[in-house]
């Protein structure tokens, strides 16, 4: 089924939302990803991904309180839904499974 798979960047965004807890809004997510992955991330891309994740039902969003910064515009805070959590766990399990299957010597740096 289209839309259930999690792309690499989608996974990163989802994990970042989870790690930011209650402070997860677009600009913060953007900054956090930049900090961790050390690559430059465009706001537009993050926005698009957030939108897609919401469509897939992995995140929920709600508008926060109005503040004086941002020209008085409210922030949209994201949190990971149960479906999102399940998918994240599933992805992690799949990875772990694969890691387990790799013979140890095969990953040794020479």
């Amino acid at each position: 089924m289209k839309g259930t798979n999690l792309g690499e960047f989608e996974e990163v965004v989802l994990l970042t939302i989870a790690s930011l807890m209650s402070d997860a809004y677009s600009v913060a997510i953007c900054d956090e990803i930049e900090r961790i992955t050390e690559r430059s991330v465009k706001l537009g891309v993050v926005h698009a991904v957030l939108n897609r994740l919401e469509e897939k039902g992995y995140v929920l969003s709600q508008l926060g309180e109005a503040t004086k910064v941002r020209g008085g515009r409210r922030k949209r805070y994201f949190e990971v839904t149960d479906a999102g959590k399940a998918t994240l766990t599933k992805v992690k399990e799949q990875r772990d499974e694969l890691w387990r299957l790799i013979p140890e010597f095969n990953l040794k740096m020479i």
């Binding site: 600009v27 706001l43 537009g44 926005h47 515009r73 409210r74």
Partner: protein, 874 residues
């Protein structure tokens, strides 16, 4: 505070974002952008932060952010469209007078616009039938001698064409042409006059004229090859004879017909009856030992080329500049520059001398376009003006619509649709007016007839329709925005205090502009008319009445003379080289005793009968003796200016002195009074009559008979018996003079007509405004009347405002028109009619009369009304 305002993201970017973005996403997204913007402000300049903001806004324009422009909305607008249409029709039907004024005014304005559109499209269609027409170019020359102003020519030198062919890469094909091929074509006993151009073998590679017979690639290679159009071929050869490979004698040389092409279509700037191979011209000139390769020999030749794909005009122009630089080095007084012109621009481009065919010229088109624009502008003003004035009546409707839920844009579209309904109905009327106007326009001048058909193709109707819609939108835009601004609550409470009344000043300005334009038109037309009459009535210094001029067309002057001597109505006969005072001039180099002091002598060649017949006044000396024309030239009769120029002395003293004209010594045998040998607007310079038998081309007959037409017929039939080949070509001198000043007559007919149109439109508008004012103030008038105001005072009250507007327009228009004519149009003309009070104020008087009648009739009606009838309902 100020700082905060300036450090805001760009307003328009925000608007754009708000327009396209989904509402549920907008707030958060905009907030993010603000945050980024603030961040950028700390690291970058304000300007670059703003640019980044713009870029971000554009980048966010993605499928998921874009608002759904709902289909439901569209269905709704279709339904509403029907409603708008219906309301428009109802409101048009309700206000019959205003709709009639609007429709008629717009139709009058639009009819000339239709003419303009047709004209423009036709001129644009010129030369597009050639394959790859956008790659065909012509070499134009810019000629500059010493420090004089450069003159622009469509012609070029042969050497420029040859060097282009040899040296410049990137050209698919090129052709060198030369005009003035022609003469009498003879096949067996049949003689047909033939004209055409010389063209080199690349002709059919550059142009796509359709070849019916023969091979285009080889048709123009050999000397004495001739290509005929199908029309010319059917004139020369009998039916059933295959013209291909036939031999034709042109000017006693044998030409072989190598190809037959279709007659050039109407929309070709290049028209010809025949093409002779360019090698013919080369070999002829070689026989005569003439050097045709001169760099300054650039008056008769043309060079066209088709660029290879990928070659740009600039590349070729650079190479041409190099060529002209090399060639110019050989001359120290003359500079010739070569430029390129696309074949598609020839009809609409700048005015050039030595065009190969008739051309309209961009300048005339622009002027005409501008005038027409002024007319339609005036008609549009009418609509705007009346709509605003009437908008009070529609205010309630707008209020109700708004209460029910109409958005501002819906109100705007409603009123624009109404304007479009009016303009499209005007279009129907305008089209009929256009059909009426068309033949008059085409007959204005022979040049117009030669170049234009004004055929209405189906494609044009689409343009007409689009034009009508455009006029509707522009005329309706202003009233529509004004009405849509109304606040529902305000309107429902009572319309009288809405802001609409504040637009009264705007309406006044529009009326003033309309009348100023009409006045300028009227004054221009009357000045042009006066100038024309002045030029025609001007005492040229000799008599032109009842003189008929017949072109000899190659016939022997003595023979033609002898046939007309037999006609009793012809009282005198003279011959001359060309007609004076109509524009063409012949010149020669002239010196007196000082070999270093030379000047141009303008001259005409005549015989001994000419001076007495034309009643030139001899101040001293004698006329030429009537001798056989075959004699060698030795005498000259000059005008006063010539003897003054060289300080020869009094007219009596100068008789017997010698002048050197083109290295011939000529004895002055007579001095005539100065007369206008050139156009009246030019000054008189040195002029002389020469006795040069070989240079006569015209025979002048003085007719002494009251029955001019009958005599003319006799003369024509005598010509046809004598020379059946050439068509009889005769005109009366006065007719020729009228034609020579036709630029004035075209100007005043055109401008006069436009003046009439703008005046009609403006008066209609004024009528509408007067009716409206009288209507709205009917109660006020009645009360005034009841309280004892006289009818006269009421009329003054109502009419005063309008008359003031007219006075203001007159105050603007009169100096404007005067300045324009005095300093722009008539500048440089030597003899010109003075611009008098009649021309300047005649128009003003007309406008005032018309204005007074329109306003007066309405106010009079209002003032006469019985107050009991109007006040009964209160």
């Amino acid at each position: 505070m100020n700082n905060k305002l300036t450090n805001q993201p760009p307003k328009w970017a925000n608007r754009f974002l708000e327009w396209y973005c989904r509402h549920d996403l907008l707030e958060d997204l905009q907030g993010d952008l603000y945050e980024h913007f603030d961040r950028n402000l700390t690291s970058k300049s304000l300007k670059s932060a703003k640019i980044t903001y713009w870029l971000d806004v554009i980048k966010f324009c993605r499928p998921y952010t874009i608002r759904k422009f709902k289909i439901v909305n569209n269905i709704n607008s279709i339904v509403m469209f029907k409603n708008y249409f219906k309301t428009s029709l109802r409101s048009i039907a309700r206000n019959k007078l205003f709709s009639a004024i609007n429709i008629f005014g717009l139709a009058v304005g639009m009819s000339v616009c239709l003419l303009m559109i047709t004209l423009f499209m036709e001129v644009r269609s010129y030369d597009r039938f050639h394959e790859d027409a956008e790659r065909i170019y012509r070499i134009n020359n810019i000629y500059q001698s010493l420090d004089e102003d450069p003159s622009y020519f469509a012609s070029t030198s042969i050497i420029a064409g040859k060097r282009l062919q040899e040296e410049v890469p990137g050209i698919d094909a090129s052709v060198i042409m030369r005009r003035n091929f022609g003469g009498d074509a003879k096949v067996d006993d049949k003689v047909v006059p033939l004209s055409g151009v010389y063209a080199s073998e690349g002709f059919f590679d550059v142009f796509s004229f359709k070849i019916l017979r023969g091979n285009g690639a080889t048709a123009l290679v050999e000397p004495y090859s001739l290509v005929l159009t199908d029309e010319t071929a059917s004139k020369i050869f009998d039916e059933g004879v295959d013209p291909l490979n036939q031999i034709i004698k042109v000017n006693d040389k044998d030409f072989k017909v190598t190809a037959i092409v279709e007659k050039p279509p109407f929309n070709s700037h290049l028209k010809f009856q025949s093409l002779a191979s360019f090698s013919t011209h080369e070999s002829q000139e070689k026989e005569r030992d003439n050097n045709i390769m001169g760099w300054t020999n650039m008056w008769m030749n043309y060079c066209y080329m088709k660029l290879a794909e990928g070659t740009t005009m600039q590349q070729i122009e650079e190479r041409l500049a190099k060529i002209s630089e090399e060639e110019n080095e050989k001359f120290d007084r003359i500079k010739i520059e070569l430029t390129l012109q696309s074949v598609l621009n020839i009809m609409t481009g700048p005015d050039l001398s030595n065009q190969i065919g008739p051309s309209i010229g961009g300048k005339g088109l622009w002027v005409f376009g501008l005038l027409v624009f002024v007319v339609i502008l005036s008609a549009g003003f009418n609509y705007t003006n009346l709509s605003i004035a009437r908008s009070l009546r529609r205010a309630k409707e707008v209020g109700v619509r708004k209460v029910v839920g109409a958005t501002r844009s819906q109100i705007i579209s409603q009123f624009i649709i109404e304007a479009c309904v009016i303009s499209v109905s005007s279009l129907v009327l305008a089209y009929f007016l256009f059909l009426v106007l068309k033949p008059y326009f085409l007959n204005l001048a022979p040049e117009i007839q030669q170049t234009l058909h004004l055929a209405t193709e189906p494609k044009l109707f689409i343009y007409f329709f689009l034009f009508a819609i455009l006029v509707g939108i522009l005329a309706g835009l202003f009233p529509a925005t004004l009405l849509s601004k109304l606040k529902a609550a305000q309107v429902m409470k009572g319309v009288s205090n809405t802001k609409l009344f504040s637009k009264i000043n705007l309406r006044k300005v529009l009326i003033v502009i309309q009348f100023t334009l009409s006045l300028v038109f009227i004054i221009s037309a009357s000045i042009a008319f006066k100038q024309y009459k002045y030029a025609l009535a001007f005492d040229l210094g000799y008599k032109t009445e009842n003189v008929l001029n017949i072109e000899l067309q190659g016939n022997d002057a003595d023979q033609v003379k002898s046939i007309y001597e037999a006609i009793p109505e012809v009282s005198e006969i003279a011959v001359s080289s060309h007609l004076l005072s109509v524009g063409s001039r012949w010149g020669a180099d002239m010196k007196y005793e000082d070999p270093m002091d030379s000047t141009t002598l303008w001259y005409a060649s005549i015989d001994g009968n000419y001076i007495p017949m034309m009643k030139h006044r001899l101040l001293a000396g004698t006329n030429f003796d009537q001798r056989p024309l075959q004699e060698e030239e030795s005498e000259i009769i000059v005008n006063e200016t010539t003897i003054k120029r060289f300080n020869v002395g009094t007219p009596e003293e100068s008789i017997g002195k010698y002048l050197k004209v083109d290295d011939k010594k000529l004895r002055i045998i007579g001095v005539i009074e100065d007369f206008h040998y050139a156009k009246v607007s030019e000054s008189i310079e040195c002029f002389g009559f020469r006795y040069q038998p070989k240079e006569v081309y015209t025979i002048n007959l003085k007719i002494a008979s009251p029955d001019l037409l009958g005599t003319m017929e006799k003369i024509a039939s005598a010509w046809n018996d004598f020379d059946p080949v050439h068509e009889f070509d005769a005109t009366f001198y006065d007719e020729k003079l009228q034609k020579a000043y036709s630029e004035y007559s075209v100007m005043f007919t055109l401008v006069g007509f436009l003046a009439f149109l703008t005046m009609t439109i403006a008066s209609l508008g004024l009528l509408g405004m007067a009716v409206y004012t009288a209507e709205t103030r009917v109660k006020e008038i009645s009360i005034r009347k009841v309280l004892g105001a006289t009818e006269g005072s009421l009329i003054t009250l109502l009419a005063k405002g309008f008359m003031w507007l007219l006075v203001i327009s007159a105050a603007i228009a009169v100096p404007l028109a005067y300045y324009f004519f005095d300093n722009v149009i008539l500048q440089g003309a030597v003899n010109r009619a003075s611009i008098g009070a009649i021309e300047l104020f005649g128009g003003v008087l007309i406008i005032f009369t018309i204005g007074f009648i329109t306003i007066g009739s309405q106010t009079w009606k209002a003032a006469k009304a019985n107050p009991a009838n109007t006040l009964r309902n209160e």
